[in-house]
Subunit: 192 residues, 2 copies
């Protein structure tokens, strides 16, 4: 999101925070404006509607997730290592950007039809990248993955959930958790 402190960026940031805390519907633009240092009506100089703010937030997050995941796994050729990195990335991204990711996971139903389709398409792209890792593992290392989509969904869901309880003061680092989850997924993949 290019640390640009334009008012537009400030509004998006504060919106992410409020949408997560209260939900999209329960967030009112007067409070969003106040937190962004302006008056209610001024929001409309930057965005056409509340819906547009939600869409921009989700669309940007999905794009960033696709790019970052791709970059994270690009430098390895080993499917098992790619999987470990994907788990690590997915957990870390959800913890470091909890507002954006929570909204992107959770506010789909509040998108208007057109926007919904656009965001869903990117979400599918993201899933396909992870499915590709399982497919490569199956072909190159004979992983015992009976259903690739099933494993992909399990991975995404259990990793995304970490951010709901993770604490930086807690006993486990992000890397600890990522390693344990990656192990948990990998244990069953190899013949024994």
């Amino acid at each position: 999101m290019a640390e640009n402190n334009s008012r537009r960026e400030i509004i998006l940031q504060e919106a992410a925070h409020l949408f997560r805390e209260k939900g999209y519907q329960a967030t009112n633009l007067r409070e969003l404006a106040k937190r962004s240092g302006i008056q209610g009506g001024s929001i409309y100089h930057h965005f056409a509607s509340k819906q547009e703010i939600l869409f921009q937030l989700m669309d940007h997050t999905m794009t960033d997730m696709i790019d970052s995941l791709s970059a994270a796994i690009r430098s390895s050729d080993c499917p098992a290592e790619k999987l470990r990195r994907a788990v690590h990335f997915h957990i870390e991204y959800h913890i470091t950007g909890p507002d954006q990711t929570y909204i992107t996971d959770d506010e789909l139903r509040n998108l208007e039809p057109d926007n919904y389709l656009k965001v869903i398409a990117k979400r599918d792209r993201y899933q396909q990248i992870i499915e590709g890792i399982f497919r490569a593992g199956k072909e190159q290392q004979s992983w015992r993955v009976t259903d690739i989509k099933l494993f992909t969904r399990a991975l995404i869901q259990m990793c995304a959930g970490v951010s709901s309880w993770f604490s930086f003061d807690g006993p486990l680092t992000i890397a600890d958790i990522a390693d344990q989850y990656a192990d948990m997924l990998c244990q069953g993949l190899f013949e024994r």
Copy 2:
């Protein structure tokens, strides 16, 4: 929820449906009333407020989940079998009662403080039952569970997510999915 077709029950059922579809905040009581076959104002003969409807729904669901999970694992003494049954139960319950469970997982932030504490307490009870299975496995069968809470959360999150994509027309039955997920969790538990 004792298939009692009193108006109260109808309202609760329709509310579960609407809350899931649109979210608690976005659901308006006039539409809920209409779907329940009455006029807006009549809701208040059955419930004191919109909040009370949400709370009743969540509280009842949590109570039922605790009772049903307890019953499902009671008849076995083997931790691995208990785990398999817990996975199966959690997935199946989320699929067969998707409205209720979705809400219970997702609308916590819309509960008023008192109600929140009550529901959270029951949710913790539910988690502790599953933690108990891992603890027993560790003691009786030397499972390699480094962090019981971590595994419990992974289990709950990945199983709950199934209902978001499951289809009765799809290739997999609930039992198929449950078995695969249980395997996935169990593979790593035993020394090799």
